[in-house]
């Protein structure tokens, strides 16, 4: 059943962890595509060795562009029914993906967004919480959706919706753009609790709070 699922992992300079992330994901999901966004390290080779299909951007384009490339790759598989967007740094859990897929199938949903705020497993600091809450408030205000967490990289999306999405925001604003496009489609969506592991590794690489400002500017000046 899981071979109708494609994990799309945008990859940018994550060589130390990507091998393990891909290996543990492939224990459950055989189809993994890593979109290497012009990494300077050998993460793409690590991912390929771990069994992922690697699509290589010739130059760095940004995470949003990498997701769109992954979607277009997944669409070339006629057997694909679901796409899962998954982070390369090891902060997402495969068990959460299983729960999200189950929810999507059971409730006949087209999209399931992961949310860090539906339970209290995820330990985020006060500042991070504030930024994420502000971001989701803005997203809810400007789109037709009502979500509790709009900038979670974990999502389950049906083939039909994937084929209609076109991410044009190459950098950080793509998360809001995705929500916006899905909101405009009038499809059934839901949210599912996810446990984000903020390891020292992911924390060191995580987005700074300044990114919130950049996201806003990118969204307004479209």
């Amino acid at each position: 059943m899981n071979d109708e699922v494609w994990l799309v992992i945008p990859l940018y300079n994550e060589a130390p962890v990507i091998g393990d992330v891909v290996r543990s994901a492939r224990e459950v999901f055989p189809n993994v595509v890593c979109v290497d966004d012009g990494s300077a390290d050998d993460g793409a080779d690590e991912a390929a060795r771990a069994g992922a299909v690697v699509v290589r951007h010739p130059v760095n384009l940004g995470q949003g562009a990498a997701l769109q490339t992954g979607f277009e790759y997944a669409l070339t598989d006629p057997g694909m029914r679901w796409v899962v967007t998954f982070d390369a740094d090891g902060q997402h859990q495969v068990s959460d993906v299983l729960a999200m897929l189950e929810k999507a199938r059971a409730e006949d949903l087209d999209v399931v967004f992961g949310s860090r705020f539906l339970d209290d497993r995820t330990e985020a600091g006060f500042a991070k919480r504030l930024v994420l809450r502000t971001a989701v408030a803005y997203t809810n205000l400007t789109t037709k959706t009502r979500l509790t967490d709009a900038h979670n990289g974990l999502r389950v999306i049906s083939r039909d919706v994937v084929s209609r999405i076109e991410i044009t925001q190459n950098r950080m604003a793509h998360a809001s753009e995705l929500v916006q496009q899905i909101g405009a489609m009038n499809v059934r969506y839901g949210e599912s609790p996810t446990h984000i592991l903020y390891t020292d590794y992911s924390r060191a690489k995580g987005q700074s709070l300044w990114n919130a400002v950049n996201i806003l500017v990118e969204l307004i000046l479209r």
């Binding site: 071979d3 109708e4 494609w6 492939r26 055989p30 189809n31 979109v35 390929a48 060795r49 771990a50 069994g51 992922a52 299909v53 690697v54 699509v55 290589r56 951007h57 010739p58 130059v59 384009l61 562009a65 769109q68 490339t69 277009e72 790759y73 997944a74 070339t76 598989d77 006629p78 057997g79 694909m80 044009t168 190459n170 000046l221 479209r222």
Partner: protein, 132 residues
């Protein structure tokens, strides 16, 4: 009271420029832009020959001196330049992204013929799955 007129004028110009720029350009808007540039150049030459014209315009719209008028005009011109440049870069980035994506997808299609599918998972690196 008089300064209000220039404020209204400047705001109107800024809004008009922004609104104009946010709409996509076709042959007509390109022609309008070129005509505008021509008029601008013509007026520049005229104002070099007759510098007093700036003072007269300034008094007409309620600004004290011609130099202030030139400054305001410059601010508006610079602002519109910033916005056009930003939008042009956005447009450029979009095309460039599509080109890079096409290259990446073509490359992977060559190295790993058809994507996995229900026939089985794709294999690592150099062992693409058999087609079909």
């Amino acid at each position: 009271m008089k300064i209000v007129l220039i404020q209204v004028l400047l705001i109107a110009v800024v809004v008009a420029v922004a609104a104009r720029l946010f709409r996509s350009g076709g042959a007509r808007s390109q022609a309008v832009r070129r005509l505008g540039l021509l008029l601008f150049a013509g007026f520049a030459v005229f104002s070099i020959l007759v510098p007093g014209v700036w003072n007269r315009i300034a008094q007409l719209v309620g600004v004290g001196r011609g130099t202030d008028m030139v400054l305001y005009a410059l601010v508006v011109a610079f602002l519109s330049y910033v916005v056009t440049t930003y939008l042009r870069f956005r447009d450029f980035e979009l095309r460039y992204t599509r080109l890079a994506r096409r290259l990446a997808l073509d490359e992977v299609a060559r190295d790993h013929p058809p994507a996995g599918g229900s026939s089985g998972p794709p294999q690592a690196g150099d062992n693409p799955p058999p087609p079909g």
